[in-house]
């Protein structure tokens, strides 16, 4: 069986699984899986750029995804003029001051001769700068958060169309990746892993606590949508006529139409990113990245600037994750910082990429769909499994109840088993890279 036949078969299998869900369960569930599958595939592609192309061990995907979500809020929500009037200047001045302090500290470090004086000067700049920053910043934050805290209490966004948030999410994630890459990319792989893990937690801590930015744990609800609302469709006589003509119930049809709309938008983004990634992989640049991945020392000896290339690919991959994060928040229609968990948004993406095949873009996409399908479906399957197993137990027995309640945690277990099995028996994934 040739390579391409096998790969087509694998994709057909995943398509069959999703269509099967539509037939057996409901088309609504199938479309939900498809939409999140598209987003997961993009995240997996982004991670594949970093790990598969360049061998960068990034376990901070969650942070970039959350930054994408933040971009959705900042771009699409209407601004809160009262909050801007009350404390906008204070907040912006505080942030500018904070950035200036860091720049001055870095300049001090770079310009002064090494020694005790340099350390002292840098510490003075940082400590004095920190207190000055807090003095300016805190006042502004307090003023902003006092403006109608139940409904807003934040600066709001720009009030622009939500689709614009997707590229902005990428830019935001790229900016964060630049800062991280500048400091952490020189580290060897284990250290980089811990560093990115920590940075993702810090990004989440900021999102949870800085209420002026995106309301923190109070969440932002009712984000604008790029597709029509179900209610509007149901009230549109033309739409109702059309779907009843097709023999569909208008309520179901409207919900399906909305999801299909999302699916179309997401597919466009996925295809664009996939084409770009594929072009990059087969370009001289892609060959250089793989050369660096396989033997850094040799690539350096050939005159390649390894540090710069690493930084470049780290930023690109993170930006892709940021775009996916913005799309996901758009799909959810709300931004909930507490919902970001490393197992789901970092390590699950790793499972997707490894299972699909790191170093191969199609593998990453396949893994994204397949693992997301399993992540959703393992729960009902686990419940069914446990019901079958516990059937002989007496109704209402404590063990039986406990087992049935715990079915939800089967998915973590299954993901671990899948990852270990793939690593053991097919370590290069379903569609191996070159």
């Amino acid at each position: 069986m040739s390579e391409s036949v096998k790969n087509t078969g694998l994709f057909a299998l995943v398509a069959l699984l999703i269509v099967g869900t539509g037939v057996v369960q409901s088309w609504n569930t199938a479309l939900l899986i498809l939409n999140m599958g598209l987003i997961s595939a993009i995240m997996s592609l982004g991670l594949n750029l970093q790990w598969g192309f360049a061998g960068l061990f990034n376990v901070g995907v969650m942070g970039f995804v959350a930054l994408g979500g933040l971009a959705t809020v900042l771009v699409s929500m209407p601004p809160v003029p009262e909050a801007w009037a009350a404390g906008g200047v204070g907040v912006l001045a505080g942030l500018a001051l904070g950035a200036a302090v860091i720049v001055v500290a870095v300049l001090t470090y770079n310009r002064m001769p090494a020694g005790r004086m340099r350390l002292l000067a840098m510490l003075v700049v940082l400590v004095a700068g920190f207190f000055a920053f807090r003095a300016v910043f805190d006042g502004g934050v307090e003023a902003v958060e006092d403006v109608n805290p139940a409904a807003t209490g934040y600066l709001g966004g720009l009030g622009l169309p939500v689709v614009l948030a997707w590229p902005v999410g990428g830019v935001l994630a790229a900016g964060a990746a630049w800062i991280i890459g500048k400091t952490a990319l020189g580290l060897r792989s284990d250290y980089l892993a811990i560093a990115t893990l920590g940075i993702a937690e810090i990004i989440l801590a900021v999102l949870k606590n800085e209420d002026w930015l995106a309301r923190g744990v109070k969440n932002v609800n009712g984000l604008p949508r790029p597709v029509p609302y179900e209610v509007d469709l149901q009230n549109d006589p033309g739409f109702v006529d059309r779907v009843t003509g097709l023999g569909l119930d208008p309520v179901t049809a409207s919900s399906l139409t909305v999801k299909l709309g999302y699916a179309a938008l997401f597919t466009v983004v996925l295809v664009i990113i996939l084409i770009l990634a594929q072009l990059a992989l087969n370009s001289p640049w892609g060959r250089m990245m793989r050369a660096i991945r396989d033997n850094e020392t040799a690539a350096r000896a050939m005159g390649k600037d390894v540090t710069r290339r690493h930084l470049q690919v780290f930023i690109l991959g993170s930006a892709v994750c940021g775009v996916a994060g913005a799309m996901m928040t758009t799909l959810d229609g709300q931004f909930i910082p507490t919902s970001y968990q490393p197992l789901r948004f970092t390590f699950l993406i790793w499972v997707m990429m490894i299972v699909g095949g790191s170093g191969n873009n199609f593998g990453a996409v396949l893994g994204g769909f397949l693992i997301w399908f399993l992540w959703v479906q393992v729960e009902p399957m686990g419940l069914w499994f446990l019901q079958t197993v516990t059937a002989p137990l007496a109704e209402g027995s404590a063990l039986k109840e406990h087992l049935l309640q715990s079915a939800a945690h089967m998915r973590l277990l299954t993901m671990g088993v899948i990852l270990l099995l793939v690593l053991r028996f097919s370590p290069r994934g379903l569609i191996p890279g070159r």
Partner: protein, 337 residues
């Protein structure tokens, strides 16, 4: 003078005692990470969940003992259950090593492959723990709550500030000292311990000297399981047990091990305290201490808290980054593979 004493007591009560306790817990966790790194040469991402697993078994046995009416007087029953937790955790790590890691060791796989494999193990353990005990908060502390309460202390000394010493804090420090002393005795004085250090320093040379690598690896896992269970149980007694919190402990534990220098046991202990003290010092509201120390005119208005407690992860991380940038091998010159 009295003001100074008051300030010292307040500082001890809110900063020193909690930081020493937390530091001891982190140090025990970091010792496990550092031993794995030194002997098996990879960063074990499943360590937080190993801690959770050992603690979970301890909790289950504790509940069993409590149901049987067995107690430990003023001390928590969990201490009686600890040996069972350690035994179960040892069994678990030996099984994972046999079923998962050994294959890659035989292949001489790259360290990064081990790290990815440990992510898989992490998923499984995480699911297993949640499956058995549930994702919620579990409290299993019993016995006396305090060694000295704040009120007793005030009565005894006549100071305005009280120094409360919780039983769990006392137990944590005492247990940590015993465990660390045992570990160092083992590593420095026994034949097996010496062979472990030799293996860690130079694998090829150790193999040439006739050291049995399988035995070294097995003993390492056993020690790590014991350390992880003790660290997890102490943390759970002091705070509470929640699977997700233990997963999150991975970050400060790794930060401690790296700050101290990966592969160096002494460094892991120092790193634990460095991380704990910086987290507590930077997130502590200094108002109370300062009001005793500065003249009334200078008394601060705010809480004088440098960062909100929610940013404590950020603190351990920034320390980690500073150490990595300026002294990549850590404070105690660990190994850089």
């Amino acid at each position: 003078m009295i003001d100074l004493l008051n300030a010292i007591v307040a500082l001890s009560n809110f900063v020193l005692v909690p930081a020493v306790t937390y530091g001891s817990q982190l140090a025990l966790g970091a010792l496990g990470v550092t031993l794995i790194y030194g002997i098996l040469r990879f960063s074990n991402f499943a360590h937080g969940d190993t801690m959770a697993f050992g603690t979970m078994v301890t909790i289950l046995v504790t509940w069993g003992l409590q149901a049987l009416g067995v107690g430990f007087g003023p001390l928590p029953t969990a201490l009686l259950a600890l040996p069972f937790g350690i035994a179960a955790c040892m069994a678990l790590v030996l099984v994972t090593d046999r079923m998962v890691y050994r294959f890659y060791r035989a292949q001489k796989a790259k360290p990064v492959v081990f790290v990815i494999v440990s992510i898989g193990v992490m998923f499984i353990l995480n699911g297993l723990v949640r499956f058995i005990i549930g994702p919620g908060d579990q409290r299993f502390r019993d016995g006396e709550n305090f060694i000295i309460t704040a009120r007793d202390f005030k009565d005894m000394t006549g100071l305005r500030e009280g120094l409360a010493l919780k039983t769990t804090q006392g137990i944590t420090v005492v247990t940590a000292v015993i465990v660390v002393a045992l570990l160092f005795w083992f590593l420095n004085r026994t034949r097996t311990g010496k062979s472990m250090r030799a293996y860690s320093d130079n694998e090829d040379l150790a193999l040439l000297s006739g050291i049995n690598p399988d035995r070294v690896v097995m003993v390492t896992w056993l020690i790590v399981a014991a350390l992880a269970t003790v660290a997890g149980t102490l943390y759970g007694l002091d705070k509470s047990f929640k699977p997700f919190t233990y997963f999150q402990l991975l970050l400060p534990v790794f930060a401690a091990a790296i700050v101290g220098g990966l592969g160096s046991p002494l460094g892991a202990i120092a790193g634990g305290y460095v991380i704990a003290f910086s987290e507590v010092l930077i997130t502590y509201a200094w108002k109370k201490v300062l009001t005793y120390l500065v003249p009334e005119a200078l008394e601060p208005d705010g809480l004088v808290q440098l960062l909100s407690t929610n940013y404590k992860f950020a603190v351990s991380f920034v320390i980690l980054l500073i150490v990595l940038l300026f002294r990549p091998t850590g404070l105690f010159r660990g190994k850089a593979v």
